[in-house]
């Protein structure tokens, strides 16, 4: 053995380490496997829970949407309504947003009597108001006017029992009574049936508080600090010029969350167009569009 080593080390060159390039097929195979893995995760991940797949991302999220019973059902429903209708401004954690909406957590408004509290989502609220020692001077549309009594009771119960609030749940019957007390001037179903679409649209304009931002006659002018639209909420009297009925309904349904800023470095404008699609019914939207088209001043012609 030792002779052999002596022999060879004398005649052969010193062995060196070398490296082969990674074969192309290995890249291809890796990419295919990774792609299949990603597709698998996309469809079935739920972070390794076989009960969870698209569009749900986790077992917790799936559990949230499962039917519940009793108080848990009302709380889950209230939370869902809150996050759809209220959370965008008041924030899902109830802490509100600066210059946009006051907090509901710890707010004295939440613990008011049921009718006074229900008046806010049903009729809207204009500032200035005091909330937890701070002044808020904003306008809120009656975002709850389109909710059923059960939905309204669920969402107000959720607000009154969440984030440290402890004012107790409210019932659908209480909401029904509050709605009757608040909307004494609203037209009855019989009266609505006899109205023209434009007249019904005017009632929709009132019902959902469009006037709170766009003005009683739709002429706008409500202040919207740092909005590119001359720091105003736009007038509606010329929408007939700029939209087809379908375009207008689509816009109202979609809303406009991001209002362009006059000064890009300045604060976010406090008012934006809510997403009314889930709140105002299809028939009401059609009547509203007819009413808005009727606002165009007669005899005006731009010549194009």
């Amino acid at each position: 053995m030792s002779d052999e080593l002596i022999c060879c080390s004398k005649h052969d060159s010193e062995p060196t380490a070398s490296r082969k390039p990674v074969p192309v097929w290995l890249f291809v195979l890796t990419l295919v496997l990774l792609f299949l893995g990603a597709v698998y995760f996309d469809h079935y991940s739920g972070w390794f829970d076989k009960q969870v797949y698209a569009p749900y991302a986790s077992a917790e999220e799936l559990a949230f949407y499962q039917p519940k019973s009793g108080a848990a059902s009302v709380a889950a429903h209230g939370r869902a309504v809150y996050e759809t209708v209220c959370g965008l401004c008041h924030s899902n954690d109830g802490l509100g947003k600066p210059n946009q909406a006051p907090p509901l957590a710890g707010s004295e408004w939440v613990s008011k009597d049921v009718t006074s509290l229900a008046r806010v989502p049903l009729a809207g609220l204009n500032g200035p108001i005091q909330v937890a020692g701070h002044e808020w001077n904003l306008a809120m549309a009656p975002m709850g006017a389109g909710l059923s009594d059960a939905d309204l009771a669920a969402v107000l119960s959720y607000i009154r029992t969440s984030w440290g609030n402890n004012s107790g749940a409210v019932t659908a019957d209480e909401m029904k009574a509050a709605r009757a007390a608040i909307s004494g001037n609203a037209p009855s179903a019989e009266a609505l049936a006899k109205m023209t679409p434009v007249e019904r649209g005017r009632a929709v304009f009132q019902k959902y508080g469009c006037y709170q931002c766009h003005g009683q006659d739709g002429k706008g002018g409500v202040s919207n600090a740092n909005a590119k639209t001359a720091e105003q909420v736009p007038s509606l009297i010329y929408v007939a010029d700029g939209y087809t009925k379908a375009e207008l309904i689509a816009f109202v349904s979609r809303g406009e969350r991001n209002i362009p800023r006059l000064n890009p470095a300045g604060p976010e404008p406090p008012h934006f167009m809510p997403k009314w699609g889930p709140i105002i019914s299809t028939n009401e939207l059609s009547d509203l569009a007819d009413f808005l088209f009727s606002l165009k001043p007669k005899g005006e012609n731009l010549g194009f």
Partner: protein, 156 residues
């Protein structure tokens, strides 16, 4: 150092694919669609060669460039899928009625005329396609509006 390159490449590719596979579009589908459409328009050219257009239309192009660029990129209307006179009429009026737009009815009409003229030349195929889909009455009205602009500016 050199020997680590394929491993790094594989790692980066794996990470990229993993992220791309797992991340999903959120539920703001319509907003995302609108945004994607606008982004697509805005990636196109931001100017038009108007040297062959009549002088009046070239002047209107200046008004269009100056007024419209105050709020959005010019590439947005230039590359949009609007081409019919009524589409431009609504779009221009929608913009000019925004508070603080600085577009009066005279400027608005000039912008409209430029856009209608430009669409009938640069986007002719798109305009013809839209006209072909209209009812006979709507088509006749739209063609009359295009002709009105051409009659006003051509050979002057």
């Amino acid at each position: 150092m050199k020997t680590k390159f394929p491993i790094l490449l594989l790692g980066a590719t794996a990470f990229g694919l993993f992220v791309a596979g797992v991340i999903r579009a959120d539920d703001q589908q319509l907003d995302a669609e609108t945004k994607a459409r606008i982004d697509k328009y805005e990636q196109g050219p931001a100017t038009i060669d108007v040297s062959k257009y009549p002088q009046g239309i070239q002047d209107n192009y200046e008004v269009f460039s100056q007024k419209c660029s105050q709020c959005h990129k010019l590439s947005r209307p230039i590359n949009s899928d609007y081409a019919a006179p009524d589409e431009w009429s609504r779009y221009v009026k929608r913009m000019m009625h925004k508070p603080g737009s600085g577009i009066d009815s005279t400027s608005g009409k000039k912008i409209y005329e430029f856009l209608v003229y430009d669409s009938s030349v640069r986007k002719k195929a798109m305009l013809d396609d839209k006209l072909a889909r209209m009812s006979a009455d709507d088509k006749a009205t739209a063609e009359a509006k295009v002709k009105e602009v051409h009659d006003k500016y051509d050979n002057k």
